[in-house]
């Protein structure tokens, strides 16, 4: 199941969304998160749905893949729907079993909130699907750049993020290796009582911590040997370029915002 998840994964392709500057994509996602709260009726949610589907189309990610990958979260969306459907007790009763009633407002709330949830997930997934983690890091570093004046450690934070990203696959391999070694020494990770399984975490975590510390130490030495002495005086290999498309995309979302303000009830 984890292998089929697409949240947080990058899918290489050559699309409009892939080519966009990570800064504009980040700005769009943040704007969208704010704008979505303007929607409060079928018209406004309809506009947002069309906008999101348009963006999904621009990403050139096959819809089948997108839906398949979002399946695990769709359950959450459906759960949200029913939660609101059953628990809201406002408006006219539209369904009555005597001991069990569904109200009009409940149906509305259920549809709207789960829709909001779904759109948010889709839009953020589109960001990670079309932007490599390192581009996101670069984008964030540049967007947060002005905070440097306030002594906020923007460069350090970005470096930490990129090193974390670099080492995730390495640590996954390492975890797998240590788990297998301990399994061969009689530890059971996949069966047995919960208490035993919790105990089994110790022989996994300690070696993992120790090797991570060792890695961190060696990495620090290697970085120093290669002349790393903090963000001061450093140049950047990866350059970001803001194009007309980026500006147009931002204008599009602003236009959507205006529409929402006009049509909201």
């Amino acid at each position: 199941m984890m292998e089929k998840m697409i949240i947080g994964r990058y899918v290489p392709a050559d699309s409009l969304l892939h080519r966009m500057d990570p800064r504009s994509k980040l700005i769009l996602v943040f704007l969208f998160v704010g704008v979505i709260f303007l929607a409060n009726n079928f018209w406004t949610y309809g506009i947002l749905l069309i906008y999101t589907l348009l963006m999904a189309g621009f990403s050139k990610i096959p819809p089948r893949f997108l839906i398949g990958g979002l399946k695990p979260v769709l359950w959450l969306v459906i759960f949200t729907f029913f939660l609101h459907l059953f628990l809201t007790r406002e408006g006219a009763v539209i369904f009555d079993l005597g001991w069990f009633k569904i109200y009009e407002e409940g149906l509305r709330q259920g549809i709207f909130i789960s829709m909001r949830f779904f759109l948010l997930i889709l839009i953020t997934s589109l960001l990670t699907l079309t932007t490599t983690p390192i581009e996101i890091t670069d984008g964030l570093e540049r967007l947060l750049g002005p905070l440097k004046k306030l002594k906020f450690p923007v460069h350090e934070l970005a470096l930490m993020m990129s090193i974390a990203l670099r080492f995730i696959p390495t640590l996954m391999q390492e975890t797998d290796k240590i788990m297998k070694a301990q399994t061969a020494r009689g530890v059971e990770y996949t069966s047995g009582p919960i208490k035993e399984r919790l105990k089994a975490v110790v022989p996994l975590l300690i070696p993992l911590f120790i090797s991570s510390f060792k890695r961190a130490e060696e990495l620090a030495v290697a970085m120093e040997a290669r002349g790393y002495k903090g963000g001061e005086g450093r140049t950047k290999y990866r350059q970001l370029s803001w194009s007309t498309v980026d500006t147009l995309m931002i204008l599009l979302l602003l236009a959507v915002t205006v529409l929402l303000i006009v049509f909201r009830g």
Binding site: E3, K177, A184, R185, E188, S191, I210, S211
Partner: protein
Amino acid sequence: MDISLKNVEYRYSADTPFERLAIQDVNIDISSGSYTAIIGHTGSGKSTVLQHLNALLKPTKGTVFIGNREIKAGRKEKNLKGIREKVGIVFQFPEHQLFEETVEKDICFGPLNFGVSETEAKKRANEAIKQVGLSEEILEKSPFDLSGGQMRRVAIAGVLAMEPECIVLDEPTAGLDPRGRKEIMDLFYKLHQERDLATVLVTHSMEDAARYADEIVIMHKGTVLQKGTPNEIFSDPERLLAHGLDVPDVVRFQLRIEKTFQTKFDRICLKEDELINMLAAFLKRRGAQ
């Protein structure tokens, strides 16, 4: 205890877009008391084979027989502990699995997991530490205060203390200096001989395979390219070289001599002294002519 793989296939992440075929049509027999070497390049499938030897991986096709157990593709297996007690694995860089406060506790970890009593486990730890050439005093130390070479030995002792019937070694000498390398290899060979301990050595080193093993399995691109005794395997060195595999130094040297002098010795030598004798005799004959 015999282990055998019958028509084994394994796919990583089966049924996903990331599926990858690691091995197929693998047939290997490891009989009790034998010393088998599995050789191949990185990515040849040899570590996938290794993980089938004690059911860390279950085949996606075919069957693995381990003693009286049968691990069949597509069937749920329960209680694999019995298998793991009998087949010990020393993974590459085994010192990475140490975690206890003391060396003794770490060595006892395996035996205790398999239900051995505490007194018995301690007795075994005591024995095992001597077997790997360390002194008893080390038992009270923290494994993390030891040198790299000592840590490696402690980790090996942890597997030996399980008293397995078969021991599987995955590049046990990686990263050691020549002396350490020789000591570790000799240690396992001694155990194999004295206790009749079935040994499977997974390695890149044709030297070690030729020196210690009585059976060699050559893995190449996920299949068994060749298997047989060292003499059988290296009697056709050209075949190995054609697949981008190495041959032992001695064999390579003999081939070079044969090519330069345009001759053919009557057999392939696996021992240095054997070749030297043959070569010396040959050169003297040549000189006499």
